[in-house]
Every structure is written in structure tokens, then in C-alpha cells.
Amino acid sequence: MGRRSLPLGLVLPAVALLALALGYPLVRQVVLSLQEFGLAQQFGAPPEWAGLGNYRDLLTDSGLWVVVLRTVAFCFVNAGLTFAIGLGLALLMARMSRPVRILAQCGLLLAWAMPVVAAMTVWQFLFDTEYGVVNWLLTKAGGDFTGHGWLLEPWSFFLVATIVVVWMSVPFVVFTLYAALTQVPEDVLEAAEIDGAGTWQRFVHVVLPAIRPVLLVVILLQVIWDLRVFTQIYTLQKAGGVSKDTNLLGTYIYTLGIKGGDFGTAAAAAMFMLVLTIVLTAPYVRLMLKQED
């Protein structure tokens, strides 16, 4: 192998695999989204061309718009809460005494390391109608929560989902931001203090600018991750939620395509999600590429 072709040979296996497992499905998805899948196709007839029909159906179907709005709202609420709690805890962490800080970090690490499905079963158990400790505690505290079903109403369904998602996401934010905060130059902070800057002013004018790049990355990642929440919604729906009223984009596409067999419309919805993600990801990629140059 020549000097020049050696690096190409080295990336070839990775490129070939990505092309097969992601590139080909991507092309196929574009084609799928332009095809019609009905009852006849489920019995083996070749799919018919639908042009932009699937997209038109999707865009005029109020069902999708409700799901999209719900997804975006869920994403912003969760990303916002996660970020606010994470930043608050990271700031407080620097002010805890050493043993407490280590204990808190151990706890966060546990929550972070928990596999999603295991965390989901535990939280389902905690919120269980009959044997859940949450209902027991609230009843002890004076409410009447005996036999209360948390997943039946969409609002309380999403409350539970939010608690779980935030619980799982906060540790990453705390550790990342805490690491960034320890990098803020001490002498600049001291100089600002000597010049009479209060705690708030030091935070706004010294700390925030110093950790700005990390803040941006954390917010972006959080938004992207919370846009694609699937497992939590799927398992909570199985545990008793009403799917129709609680679908987010991920479970919507799944129900439409894998469960319902309408691959054309599902593919069009998936394209929508793909574009949404790429638009949101662009700033992150630009930031990482700047580092590259």
C-alpha cells in the first residue's frame, strides 16, 4: 500500500460500516417518505409512489403538530430545569465542606451510572398506584393518595417523566460545570473583589464569561438529548399511560411505523426529526470544529 493510500485504507472499515448502517438507511428513508404504505403493502404488494403526499398529510394532520409542540415543550422544560438545577448545584458544590461534597458527588455518580431501564423500573415502583412509596408518603403527610394513579392523566404523566429525566440528566451537568468552575482563574476573581465587585457582579462579569463555552455546549447537548427522549416515555406508557395523549416525536414515529406499519408517513416524520436535530446541532459542531483548526 502506498504512503498516500494508507490513511484511506485505515478509515475504510469505519466509513464502510457507517455507510451501510446509517448512510444507506438515510437514503432509503428519503425514498420511503415518498412512498405509500397501506394494507396492500402489508400483504406484499410493492409500495406506490406518493410524491410529497406523506409530508402533506403530516403537515396538515393536527396530530403531528400536537406531538411536535408537546415534544418541544417537554424538551425546553426538561433542559431548562436540568440546566438550572445543575448550574445551581455546581456553584454550591464549590462552597460545600469537603466530606459533604464527596458524598454529594458519590450520589450524583450513582444516579448518572444507573442504566435507563433500571432507573425506569425503580421510579415506576416509587410512583406505583398500590405499593409506591410516593403515595404512602403523601398520604402520611395528610393527603389522600391511596391508590392514586400517577400515569393516567397526561399532566401527571409528564410530571413523573420530567422528574425521572431531570434526575438522570442533572449529574452530567453538575460534573461538567463544576469542572469548568474550578478552572476560573482565582487571581481575576480576587482582583475583582479588591475592586469592590460583589458576589453577583463577580458571577456575571468574571465567572460567566469564563465558563461560557462550556455552558453553551452543555445547553446544546441537553436540548438535543431531551428532544429525543424515547425510553422513558415508552416505558411509562407501558406502565399505564395513555399513548395517544402522551406521545413525543420518538414514540410517535415508533407507533406510526413499527407498530402501525405506515412506514411512509413514519419516515416523513423521522425526516422532520432529523432536520430539527441537525439545525439544533449546527452550533455544537461549529464549536467543536473551531477547536479542530
Partner: protein, 280 residues
């Protein structure tokens, strides 16, 4: 920011710290402690805080369950295969990106960054159709194929950082001493990369072991479920009375390897995702 903190602030911060510990650790404690409780104590009027009269019955039940064993075998096969293939492919690509300047290098890096962000939900419809057409639904190979693709970007990115960290001078010195380029690589660079390969492999293991979305799409046959898919089906209440003790025992069993591995790579996970940004 190790600054002197006024006493009241410190006490307040410590209180929050204790609350954080409780809020994070309690669900984990609940899972483990309930897994040792007999059925009648789980379903008692008031929950018991500590499993004084603990039993291993739940574990006996789960470990004797043939479906659990099947799911364990599937999960282990898919996970180990994914890690093996991903590490090998990513390693080759990482060496190319780190040690060579070639045409398409920048495009390759850009593509990796982009696809790392693509959610499984945005492609699983057509991946399902593709695997269906290839006869690879409900197969370890099929699931491994999509898993490798989803861990590869991060794996290349992380390993490339490790390869960057091995100074070229070392390789060149070995070549001066009479090694060929290949020999220098295998005798000098590769041993220095071992910790990086382990860390990256562990990361891939956690990813594949925990993955749910693609597994539930690809493994539709109950006999071919991975552990996460099996656990969710097992928890699904409506078909039979929920056996919380057994569910908590199996959740604990699934969690243990992850916690152990997680502690090994935790530091790298923080720096991996934001490395560029932290350095500014």
C-alpha cells in the same frame, strides 16, 4: 474557585449537598433493598426502610428464569461483539486521523460529529426496513450492526485523543533504532494506548448494554430480547400481577456491571464530550 466561604453559606451549601445525596441515592437504595424483600413485606401496609428479614428468593427466582438467561446471553453477545468491532474499526480510523493529513480528513471528522448527534429515533424506521430486507431482524448480527454505527463516532473521537497523546518522537526514536514503522507502532505506540483502548471499550460496553430504543425495534421476537427489553416486558403490569421483588432483583443485576464500569471511565466521559470547549 476554592475560596473562603462564610460559615452560613457553607452550612446552607452542606444542607443542599445532603439533600442531593438523598435524592440521588434513595432510588438506588430502594431498588437494592427491595430486591431482598419477600413478597409479603413489599406488599405490606407500611414500607420497611431496611430489609432486616432479607431473603435471596427474588434472585433465585430470576436466576432460575430461562427467559432471563436467554436475554443475558443475547445482551452479552451483542455487547461484546459491538465493543470488539467498534474498537478495532475506531482504532484504525483514529490512527489515520491523528497521524496523517489526507484528503477528506476534515469531512470525515465533520461527519462523525454530525452523526454522533443523530437520534436513533430519526433513522430506526429505515434501519428496521433495511434489516428486515436482509433477514437480520431478531439477530445478534443485525443489532450489532446498528450498535457499532451508533458508538463508532464517539469511539473514534475518544481514541483519537489518546493517539494524539502519544508523542511521535517516541515512534521516530524507535525507527532510528532500527524498527520499521509498523514495528515502532506495535512495540512503542500500541502499549502506550492500552489504557485508552480499555477506557473506550468500557464506554462502548455501557452504551450497548444499556441501549433500549434500537433493541426494542430490532428484536421484536420475545425469544430474542436483550436484557433491557426483557426487563421492560417483565415489568409490564397488565398481563400478570407485578412481582416488584423480582423486578428489583433483575434491575439490580443489570445495574451492577454498569456501575462498576462507570466508575472506571467517569472522568473521561466528562472531558470527552466537552474537551474542546473546556480548553477554550
Amino acid at each position: 474557585m476554592a475560596r473562603r466561604t462564610p460559615a452560613p453559606v457553607r452550612v446552607g451549601a452542606d444542607l443542599v449537598g445532603i439533600l442531593v445525596l438523598l435524592a440521588c441515592a434513595f432510588p438506588v437504595y430502594w431498588m437494592v433493598s427491595r430486591s431482598f424483600l419477600p413478597r409479603n413485606e413489599i406488599k405490606g401496609e407500611d414500607p420497611v426502610l431496611f430489609p432486616w428479614r432479607g431473603t435471596l428468593d427474588n434472585y433465585r427466582k430470576i436466576l432460575g428464569d430461562a427467559d432471563f438467561a436467554d436475554a443475558m446471553v443475547t445482551s452479552l453477545s451483542v455487547t461484546l461483539l459491538t465493543v470488539g468491532v467498534a474498537i478495532l474499526f475506531a482504532f484504525l480510523a483514529a490512527v489515520a486521523v491523528s497521524r496523517f493529513r489526507f484528503r477528506g480528513r476534515r469531512t470525515f471528522i465533520l461527519t462523525l460529529l454530525l452523526i454522533q448527534m443523530i437520534p436513533a429515533e430519526a433513522l430506526f424506521i429505515s434501519q428496521y426496513k433495511m434489516l428486515d430486507g436482509m433477514g437480520l431482524l431478531n439477530s445478534v448480527i443485525g443489532l450489532t450492526l446498528v450498535y457499532v454505527a451508533s458508538v463508532l463516532p464517539f469511539t473514534v473521537w475518544t481514541l483519537r485523543g489518546f493517539v494524539d497523546g502519544v508523542p511521535r518522537d517516541l515512534e521516530e526514536a524507535a525507527m532510528m533504532d532500527g524498527c520499521s514503522r509498523t514495528q515502532a507502532f506495535f512495540r512503542v505506540t500500541l502499549p502506550l494506548l492500552a489504557p485508552g483502548l480499555v477506557a473506550t471499550g468500557v464506554f462502548g460496553f455501557i452504551q450497548a448494554w444499556n441501549e433500549f430504543t434500537l433493541a426494542v425495534v430490532v428484536m421484536t421476537d420475545p425469544a430474542k430480547e436483550t436484557l433491557p427489553v426483557w426487563l421492560v416486558a417483565f415489568t409490564d403490569a397488565r398481563s400478570r400481577g407485578v412481582d416488584w421483588g423480582a423486578i428489583m432483583a433483575s434491575s439490580t443485576l443489570i445495574t451492577i456491571p454498569v456501575i462498576v464500569f462507570f466508575l472506571i471511565v467517569q472522568r473521561r466521559m466528562v472531558s470527552g464530550l466537552t474537551a474542546g470547549a473546556v480548553k477554550g
